[in-house]
Structures are given as structure tokens and as C-alpha cells.
Symmetry: C3
Subunit: 383 residues, 3 copies
């Protein structure tokens, strides 16, 4: 018996939002970005996503995705080899899977007559490429068109996409909540961020609600902006210096499964907080610019000259700092600005497939045709 | 099912001393030393003590202690900032707590009208400074006077306190038992310690009991001293060389919650074995000297010239070695000299507040006045 | 509640072989190799074996083994000292054990009259030395003759034994299965191994059964050898180049508790996959050569010139790679060549003492005479 610390604090409790509570590994039935297209070549790339370990590999220009474990003894397929076009062989005993369907085409070390061939299949995942990125469908049924899960912005012509992809500590929910959270931008980023050297946010924003829907996007509303105030018994806050320009109100929107859009004057910023495992997320920071060749080239230049370093690295490291410090179990006591967080949690309860079990089952009826589902195909030769 | 090793050994079992058994994180309701006074300045210092994470910070000469977690989202307050005198603000959203009472004075990013202000409070801890050290009260009720838990020696005038504070591996109980343990000093420290180059302990001591009380201190008694003996079938032990001087008997005393006193001719040695978490303790090694300015200056010089290295580092590293090697669950079979250990365990059953639940409850009645207790003050604005 | 990945794969399930399933720490009641004889001198060597921590030490030419934990407070005896010939003393309080019987001969810091002497004993293990190696009996009853558990080959005169002893990751069962596994040698070692630069295995072997017994050894049988084949819809495999010589069929045998024999033209190769803990095994790779002094000297030279590097290091590192990648829980779906693995698992169900509880009890009757058993000898002085 170990004595508890007698500190009593109200503990975080997500039971009001049961699907969100259960989604430590994220929401399936969505398209998720994986990496830059140029990163996937003939050599397999192993990626963990929503807890699944997946092997990605390009052949004849097309990207394929297999669950990264051989059915035989569990060795990762990503350490395997290619023996025949359109297939991939496990490094241990040469079990050879079809890249497209996942079906076992040969078990080389059992000879050409092996009875297990075509009887089993490893799970495969639908893959699409758009805007220089690879997207994968993580779902139990057949995929929706990839465009449904992509910001339109990203797939217009004359688009430049630049950015940074990193894996960070902390559950994806803390990171997404931090992204859509109104209030932290008025305090956390006020100090120490190079990006805020010549500008300051207002002190606070009052919202009547946590967000309004606009298509798949939910945006924060600002009903009242508090630039500076007199706090009873304490004094005036925040301080503005003569070189500080007041920055505008919120232009932030969030959408399922876990991406953020922030509209800046010169570009739009998209973020994904993608579950890796329960304690890590993959962080996509993308700047999207449209226009002439020259305009895009100039932006590319400024991105690599300074935007990347003062925004994606130094500014967003402040967010990462907080997300890392967030305890897995710990206190939570929300205040008025957290209406944005509760709105987002409510939105999550509507995640695709979370509340329509029947619809999902119906879609499941198409699985056999879809061909992307891992399944027992038949009996096994050697029991 | 994993097969057990068939080695049968009597396992350690503390159930005879249930409060001691439960005290993996130590005994609350005592004053504990934290660090040197000079180490606490305006920059917060985060310390873990008896499992509690506490932030210490000095303002206007006074040291304050807050439970190191914001009530809002759980971010450590020790990474925060100061916005107004007498308060401390969380780095994430600017929740601003009163240093003295822990009451939430402002939630900056919710504006001056925020409804949550003065409704909640973070736990604070009573703090005192004596003899160049900071002490904190870890208890559920109001503190006793700090002098009750301090060796008088420490707070006399003309006192020099020098020493070393480190965090070591191993539960605090193994370290305290090692400190008060008679027998290990006759064997462990006999070999390899520079401090024993010219002297040797006797081979063994026979005690009729494990300790006699003298105020709060329990001292080992020596009823019979065995300098050297003839072990049947083995031979004589221990060996003394001509350059070895026989050292005296035990001058060791222990007191609750976990400190040791050893009287040496030129100074008194005080030790605290303070629980950090269940597997680490903070080890205070303090030499206390009284007298003229010159005497103290000379002692300070010899401490830094050699005493620190041959005593606090090399000699006591032998103890740390044993405490680290002590298995969390493992064998225990006590022998006659361990009467000192069982006496200490019995003493622990009398720890303050452990056997007087009613007295504690009564003291609890003063909590509201004490003002040092974390409590829900009122309802919360945003549920 | 965390959502499961919906990937469905048949999971490894050893319940068909309950003794094997339970043997995560190996089979007791066998002699196991420990290390090279020349590695055990007067300084104790601590070794973990089948989960037991054992201290080995040589005195007057004989090797002794004690369970590596003092009965008193659990400190490892291997950090101890010697005070009297034929005994070993714990570093903490000088409890002094007889090396041969484990009986407590003295508790030095309790004086020569200590009542606990001769009342308790630490477990000791029977030890033998053969062929330049130390062997230990890990069993509950008295040992069988060590020759029963040793390949005869190893103890003939004019024998050279050279090799490598390392601790590797992975449960001993994965390593032993990999050793006796027929099929992986046709695929895993085909590529990238220097040893296979000028030779190639056939593509596959068909066995009517997984092994036939020959004394304690079970050998794989080859009923049909497939050198190269035409795989439907894929093509011919494997590819042989003009510089590739076809290597012969299987010459592999396995025996309980966990050793392998492979007969090569110039030497015999013996391997032990010895359980350390549930996730590590000690890997003995031994080449055994007989003959004249010159023949053995020449082989010793070639071993250190190249055999060690291309076989024991580079070739067997391919095996270690797979054993490390084997998931603790994960998929398993056996195919025809895995008949060798199921035959080995069946053999394990016959491991010594696993199915003959009565026989074991009978042997247990001799324990008191054997003197190698740890046991409570009498009552303890200080309770």
C-alpha cells in the first residue's frame, strides 16, 4: 500500500465525449497524409499510423501499402526483398505477397506446389498521391474519394506546398486541442517567439460559442476582443511597447479527423496532428501558396530563408513544449475560452463511422470487391 | 505461465510494522529540508518530495511553495512566468495564482471579468528557513513549529553547516536502515575506505536492545564490544595491523521522520534520507560545527580540502552502493545485530499522525485558518 | 478504452505444447554450459541462467556456484570478499557461506557465538568442467552424470573447441526454432552472407516428417530436394550463377534442452541457445575438431583468421537479426517446412522431469545426501 499525495485536483475526464475518449489512437475511416511523395521509392519505408505498422513502397510509379508483418512468423515485411515484379517477399522464408491485393502468391522455400499459396493475404491499404504528398486510407470499409478528406486548396493548380513533417511526443488529442485552443495564443506565444517580435495578440477574446461550422471546417468566433485590461488588485495587462503592432483576431479552423487551417495574408497554413501511437503524433506543418511561377519561387525562397525557422521551428516548438508537458493523467478544469475545446470534442463525436454502425456495415458489404481488405481467403495447408 | 526459480529464501515482509510497510513515500506531517537557502531565488526550482512535485521560489526575501501543476490543464507551474508581484502565472494560458494562498487571482486570457477568479486554489506548503536551509511542511493539517523537527544543534548561534545534497537510488527506508544499522559499519566500511586507513572498528557489538530513547532520538546501545574473535573452524577475525587504531563504539542516533545524528570529536554529523519517489531518496549530509569565527573558518577549509572527499563522497559511496543493490522485493532474514533495525521499524509505527487519526482530524479543524491547504473554494464558471 | 487495429491475423498459440508454452525460462533438470573454464578464477563471475542469478568462483582449482543473493538482506554475493579458505563472505555484513554446501559458517559482525551459524544455507549448484567449458546443473533433484547431457564429440581426446559466447536479444525458443528451422536457410542466408559467396542452397526441401530420433538427437529428414522451380505466374527461382556451387542437404540435429549440431566436412558445429531471462539467450557457437596437434593448430589458425568472422559473426548475425525482430506476441501461421518446428515442440513435451513428476519426487529423496540443495536447515536465532 502506497500512500497517495493528498493534493486534490479535479481530474481530466473525457467521459462526456465517449468516442473522443476512446480515440487514443485516432479516428479510422479517414484519409491520412503519410509523407512527401518523393520520400517513397523502391526501398520500403516503414511508418506507424494510428497504431498500425505499415510498409510503403513504390513500383512502376505507383505506391503500395502493406501491413508490416509477415503472416508466417511476424517478421516486418519492410526488411524484405523483391523477387518478382508486383510482389514483395519476406526476408525470413521468402513468403511472397502481391503488392496490390496482399494475397500470398508463393512461399518460395516450400517450392512451386506449396499448398498455402493464394489461401491467405496480408492487409493492404488504399493509397493516393496529391499535392506532392502520399495519403493512405485507414478504414474498415472501402475508401471515400480522397478529395473528400483534403482541403480543396491543396489540390488546385499552380499550388506550392512547402513544410515540415516530424514526429513529436504527446497524444494527438493534446496537440489538436492546442492547435484549435484560442487562449494559449494570447499567452504562450506572447513571450520568447521571434515571430512576435514586432506584433502582439490582444489579451483575450470572448466567444459566445466555441465554433461555427462551414462545410467540414469549424471556426472559432470572436464576439468581443479585449486588447488590454485592468485586472482587479493586480494591474494592467498585457503590456504593448511602441514597436508592437496589434495582430488580428482568430482565423483558425479545425476539421476531422485532426487537421487545422490558419489563413495568413500571404499563404494558408495547414496542420495535421496524426496519431502514431498513444504517446506520439506525426506533425505536418504545410504552407500553401497559389499564383505565378515567380510568386511561388519567391515564397519557396523566403520559406527556406526564414519562415521555416521562425514559424515551423521556433514558434511551433512552444506548442510542442506544452504538448510534451501535458500529463497523461492529470488535472483539468476548463474556463470560458475552452469553449473552443469542448466544441471540438463534441465535433469528434460525429466522426465518420463512429455513430453510424449500420452505414459502416453496409459499406462493409463491398469489401470483397474493394480488394483492399485483409482476410482469411481459405484454409491453410499445414495446421 | 512462466516457471519460478525454485530457490526458496525467506522473503522480506514488513507486515509486522504496517505503517512502515505503507510508507514507501515516507511519513507526512513533518518538516523536511529541501535545499540550501542560497539555491532558491526568483527563478522557480522544481523539487519532488514524498511523491509531491513542488515549485519553490523566493520573492521579497520570502520563499513560497506551490504544488507544481496548474489546475487548468496540468502544465508544471515551474515553467511559468511572473506578471504581477506576489503572484505566479502558468506559462500556457496565464492562470495567475497568489504565491501565499494559492488562490487563482486572474485567468489572464479570459479577461479581467473572468468568473473563475478566486474560485479555485492550488495547494501551497508552509516554508521556513533555518541554518541556511529551506524546510517545507508536508502535512495535512497546520504545521508544528519548525523547531520541533530540527536538531537544536542546527539552530544555535555561531553554527557552521557544510555538506552535500544529492539524489540517490533506492527507497528511503533502505537508506535509513543502513544508516542506523550497527553491523554494516563493522564490515562494509572496514575495507577500501580511505577514512579507515589508520583506524578500524571492532569486529562486532552485542546489544541487549536496538535502541533507547532520548527525546526524539533513539540511540544504539553497546552492551559488549568484540574487538577480535576466534571463529569456530575458520580462524581469527578481524585482522588489525600495527598502524590501525581501534575506533570507539557507537555514537549513532536516529529520529523520525528519517534523520541520523553521529557525534564525532570535532563536529556533529546529521543526515536526512528523504523520500523523493518510491525508488529514490534525497540524501543530506551535513557537518555542524560551533565556535569562534576562526574555528568555523578552519573547519570550512578542511571540509573542502579533504573531509568532503573522504567522508561524504568515498566513504558514503560504500553505503550508496549497498542501498542501490538492495532488491525491491527479495530475501530478508534478520540476525541479532538487526535489533537496531527492528527497533527503528517499531519507532516508525509511532510516527506523527500515523496512530492518532482523531488528533489529526482535530488539527484539521484549523485548516481554514492555516490558509496553507489546497481546497475547492467555490463553484467553477465553465463546467 | 483504446481501439484495436482491425488487422486480423492468426496469433501464435503454443497451447498444443503446454510444457513448451510454460518454458519461457527453459527446462530445468539439465546441465547447461556457463562460460569458458579460463574465465572463472578467484574473482567471482555473476551469470544469469534460466532466470537464476548465480555466482561462479574457482578455489584450489575447483569451480563453485552459489545463488547470487545473500539470505540476510539480498545483496549479491558476487560483490563479496573472501575471509577464510573454502568460504565466501557477503560484502555488507560479512555473512560467510561454505562454498561447497552453502551453509552459513559465520555471521562475522555478530561475533563467534552467533546463533544463526549453521542454521541456514544459500542454494549451491553442482558444477563440472569438460572440454574447456564450465557446466552447471540447474535442477531440483541430484544431477545426472554430466556426460549424459554432453555431445560425446566434445569430450573425446585430441579435441579442439573454439568458438564464441554472446548474450543476444530474444527468447531462447525463437533462437532454437530458428536453428532447427529448415526453410530459413534456403532464403535468409541466400543473400548477403559472405559464407555463401561461392555456394548456394537448393530452393527448398520436402520432408515427410519434421525429424527422426537418433539417441538424444532429432535430425531433419530430406525426402525431396528442389534445386530450382517454376513458380506459377511468377517465374523461375532461385537463380544460380556460374560461380555458385550447390550445397548439400540438411545435416542438422537438435537435442534437449536447447542445443544444435551441424556436421561440416572439416568440423562439427555445436550451438546452445541458453535461456538468460525471458527476453535474452546466451548463444554458444562452438567448432569441434579432432586429430593431430598440427591439424588442430591449423584449424585454430583458420578460425581466428576467417571462420569466426564469416560464420560466427557475419553469417549468424543474420539469424540474430530475425530472432530480435520476432515479436513477443504476434502472428504465426505455419507451412509445410515448419514440420521441423512442430516436431521440436513435440520433443520438448518430453523434456526431463516435465512429464514424470513421480520420478522427480523419487530423485528428490536423495537431495539431503546430494548436499547441493538450498534448504532451511534449522530455526533462526533472531526472528
Amino acid at each position: 500500500m502506497i500512500k497517495q499525495s493528498r493534493v486534490e485536483m479535479r481530474q481530466r475526464d473525457l467521459s462526456t465525449w465517449p468516442h473522443y475518449d476512446a480515440a487514443a489512437l485516432g479516428f479510422r475511416n479517414y484519409w491520412y497524409p503519410v509523407t512527401w511523395s518523393r520520400r517513397i521509392g523502391r526501398r520500403p519505408v516503414a511508418v506507424q499510423l494510428l497504431g498500425d505498422r505499415i510498409m510503403f513502397r513504390r513500383e512502376q510509379g505507383k505506391v503500395y501499402a502493406l501491413y508490416d508483418q509477415c503472416l508466417h512468423r511476424g517478421i516486418p515485411l519492410s526488411v524484405g526483398r523483391q523477387e518478382f515484379p508486383g510482389t514483395w517477399s519476406c526476408r525470413y522464408h521468402g513468403w511472397t505477397y502481391d503488392l496490390q491485393t496482399g494475397v500470398l502468391r508463393a512461399a518460395l522455400t516450400d517450392g512451386p506446389e506449396s499448398a498455402i499459396c493464394n489461401k491467405v493475404a496480408v492487409k493492404t491499404y488504399p493509397v493516393e498521391e496529391r499535392a506532392g504528398l502520399v495519403f493512405v486510407w485507414l478504414g474498415d470499409g472501402p475508401p471515400v474519394p480522397v478529395e473528400e478528406d483534403l482541403p480543396e486548396d491543396l489540390i488546385e493548380p499552380d499550388t506550392l506546398v512547402v513544410g515540415r513533417i516530424t514526429v513529436r511526443k504527446g497524444n494527438w488529442r493534446y496537440a489538436t486541442e492546442n492547435g484549435y485552443d484560442e487562449a494559449h495564443s494570447h499567452y504562450l506565444h506572447r513571450y520568447g517567439a521571434l515571430m512576435m517580435l514586432f506584433s502582439r495578440n490582444p489579451g483575450w477574446i470572448v466567444s459566445r460559442n466555441g465554433g461555427t461550422m462551414n462545410g467540414p471546417w469549424m471556426s472559432r468566433t470572436a464576439d468581443e476582443v479585449g486588447v488590454v485590461g485592468d485586472f482587479p488588485g493586480l494591474g494592467r495587462w498585457p503590456k504593448f511597447r511602441f514597436w508592437h503592432r496589434l495582430r488580428g483576431g482568430p482565423r483558425v479552423a479545425v476539421r476531422l479527423p485532426s487537421s487545422l487551417r490558419v489563413a495568413y495574408p500571404k499563404y494558408t497554413h495547414y496542420t495535421w496532428y496524426e496519431p502514431v501511437d498513444t504517446d506520439h503524433h506525426r506533425y505536418f506543418q504545410l504552407m500553401v501558396v497559389h499564383g505565378s511561377w515567380l510568386r511561388r519561387a519567391m515564397f519557396w525562397l523566403t520559406y527556406w530563408l526564414y519562415r521555416r525557422w521562425i514559424f515551423h521551428v521556433q514558434f511551433n516548438n512552444q506548442d510542442a513544449w506544452m504538448v510534451e508537458l501535458m500529463p497523461e493523467t492529470g488535472p483539468e478544469r476548463l474556463f470560458r475560452p475552452d469553449a473552443s475545446i469542448t466544441a471540438w470534442r463534441r465535433l469528434c463525436e460525429q466522426a465518420r463511422g463512429e455513430n453510424d454502425a449500420e452505414a459502416l456495415l453496409e459499406r462493409g458489404g463491398h469489401v470483397a470487391e474493394g480488394g483492399a481488405e485483409s482476410a482469411e481467403i481459405g484454409a491453410i495447408a499445414h495446421a
